[in-house]
């Protein structure tokens, strides 16, 4: 009897919980729709001509729908050039950040030497500094280095210069995440590698790196988003607009004299595509790879 009763109670409770969950789900769902609305509205507007909206108001029923804004945006933004620039900056920067980050994390967690903690501290704190704090000296250094090697465009006005500053800044975050993850990897794996006489190089590239795949995947998504979306460094460290990434090409649509907002919307939607692809392709690995704080470790 008592068992039956308690089971009954449990059932009731589960039932109540179920209703509550549904309510919560609906509530969160309504907010989720609100969350997407701004993007959806922009997308909707990007299919309409601006002149029509100017004439009939934003809420007017559409008379003309089509991809014409996209066609114009693609031709005015010179997409291939600017997408290529974005790739030239983002891909090496993400790659180097992850490489350096995992190297640092590897050494500080797997080998014990005096400066482990100090280094980790330095990197993490550095990642949190405001970018504007370093920008004038970095600019001056890039120019000075350029003059030294006889080519002003050695780092300044060169995508490598932008790559390096991104790497220098983001490395801290990567090191931090990777080192917390590495702490969760049993030490025995490293030990057996070392006992087998693997040198440091093999130990890292053959043993550790494959194990780091999940956090590397999540970091890759985050880093791609951050670096791809940056416009500050590309603005101040480059002088040739044709070398700047896609985020600055949006400015070309915002012409002072004819701001066609719907054209701008189309441009914005185009610019978002790469990060969206990266996110949706890696969505599964994304959250699972970011075991921050590692309570289990």
């Amino acid at each position: 009897m008592t068992i039956e009763k308690s089971q009954d109670k449990k059932k009731k409770k589960l039932y109540a919980q179920d209703i509550k969950d549904r309510l919560i789900s609906i509530f969160i769902g309504i907010f989720a729709l609100l969350w997407i609305f701004p993007i959806a509205w922009t997308l909707w507007s990007s299919f309409r001509p601006y002149t029509e909206i100017m004439k009939n108001g934003v809420l007017s029923p559409p008379q003309e729908l089509g991809l014409f804004n996209y066609e114009e945006a693609i031709s005015r933004m010179e997409l291939p050039t600017y997408f290529l620039n974005s790739a030239l900056i983002t891909i090496p920067a993400v790659f180097l950040t992850l490489l350096f980050g995992s190297l640092m994390a590897f050494v500080v967690t797997r080998y014990s030497f005096k400066f482990n903690v100090a280094l980790l501290l330095l990197f993490t704190a550095g990642n949190l500094l405001p970018a504007q704090l370093v920008f004038i000296p970095v600019f001056k250094m890039y120019l000075a280095l350029g003059d030294l090697v006889g080519d002003r465009r050695f780092l300044y006005d060169n995508h490598w210069g932008v790559v390096l500053i991104h790497v220098a800044f983001q490395m801290g975050f990567a090191t931090f995440v990777l080192s917390s993850y590495m702490k969760t990897i049993p030490k025995e794996i490293s030990e057996s590698a070392m006992v087998d006489g693997a040198n440091v190089f093999t130990h890292f590239f053959r043993v550790m790196l494959p194990l780091l795949r999940p956090p590397l995947a999540s970091l890759a998504v985050l880093m791609t988003t951050w670096i791809y979306n940056d416009f500050f460094w590309a603005l101040v460290l480059m002088s040739t607009d044709k070398k700047r990434p896609i985020t600055s090409a949006l400015g070309r649509l915002q012409g002072e004299f004819t701001t066609d907002y719907n054209l701008l919307a189309a441009g914005a939607m185009i610019a978002v595509i790469p990060t969206l692809i990266v996110f949706f392709v890696m969505r599964k690995q994304f959250v699972s790879g970011l075991t921050l704080g590692s309570t289990k470790g």
Partner: protein, 304 residues
């Protein structure tokens, strides 16, 4: 930190490194460290020095020592600095009491795999993926004088509600825009943390008759301590360091003064002076306090 001499029995460390291993290790650590110090810490220190000088940022030979003049100027002669402090404080409070808790609760619910959680996760994370430039364009669409909201209210441009200009609205508008991203960001970090919390722990609590809220407060939240600290630090830093969102909407004008834009406005552009460097240092000092707190927590165990 244990050393080899005090712990000779630990087999997990090799007693010596071959020369090539040492070189490899040196490279592994040296290259990233050099890059980081050269491009982050050295320039940061240089800017700190420059904040005590007069300079236009152009000819290095023309740097003049100014003592505390730039700081005096900011603290005593520049009312916009205090306006910016006020906005940044509101920003911080809003994030701390509203945006961040919402992100955490959201993560908690999604982690429980409620109906539609996959869709919700993507929906809330979507704004985080967007660049600030795109975010600015999107919100401008809704709120500009001839935008969606004013259209909905049926107001012509001349009578449109001044969402970005009027002090009664602008800060809240920016707060909502910022939260739009921040909530998704916090949700994601917290989700990652929640994956690490033992699910059995939570189940046990529910079976013990604890309510949802009690389970969260008494079991999950304390177990998440390390993530909580990270979230806290990110909240503080994001609200103090805020720049892009406001820059995209207002450019470098003072429409909504915040510290990040004041730094940029005074250090870049035609009117560059080292007053901007002084702003940057103030911003740095404000952020370093939470950074230190964070690092102390993070590395306490390592230091032991």
């Amino acid at each position: 930190m244990t050393t080899e001499t005090t712990a000779p029995s630990t087999p997990r460390r090799r007693r010596f490194f071959s020369k090539s291993d040492k070189i490899t290790l040196g490279f592994f650590i040296g290259v990233p460290t050099f890059l980081h110090v050269a491009l982050v810490w050295f320039p940061a220190l240089a800017t700190m020095y420059l904040s005590f000088t007069y300079w236009t940022g152009i000819d290095i030979s023309k740097i003049q020592w100014a003592g505390l003049a730039n700081y005096e100027n900011i603290f005593f002669n520049t009312p916009i600095f205090w306006d910016a402090m006020r906005v940044n404080t509101v920003w911080l409070l809003w994030f701390f009491f509203i945006a961040t808790p919402l992100g955490i609760l959201l993560a908690y619910q999604i982690d429980r795999e409620i109906r539609g959680h996959k869709f919700y996760q993507s929906a809330y994370y979507l704004p985080v993926v967007l660049s600030l430039a795109v975010t600015g364009i999107i919100w401008n669409f809704l709120l500009r004088p001839d935008g969606f909201v004013n259209g909905l209210l049926g107001l012509p441009t001349s009578q449109a509600i001044s969402f970005f200009g009027d002090d009664r609205y602008n800060i809240w508008v920016i707060m909502i825009m910022a939260s739009w991203r921040h909530i998704g960001y916090i949700m994601l970090l917290y989700l990652a943390g929640l994956k690490a919390v033992d699910a059995a722990l939570r189940e046990a609590a529910t079976i013990d008759g604890a309510t949802e809220w009690q389970t969260f407060r008494k079991v999950v939240f304390p177990a998440m301590r390390p993530v909580n600290i990270i979230v806290l630090v990110i909240t503080i830093i994001e609200s103090l360091r805020a720049f892009d969102m406001v820059y995209i909407i207002y450019g470098s004008s003072g429409g909504l003064p915040i510290l990040g834009v004041l730094v940029f406005n005074n250090i870049a552009g035609e009117g560059a002076s080292m007053k901007g460097a002084a702003y940057a240092v103030i911003l740095f000092l404000l952020t370093i306090v939470p950074i230190i707190a964070y690092l102390r927590q993070q590395f306490r165990e390592d230091v032991k």
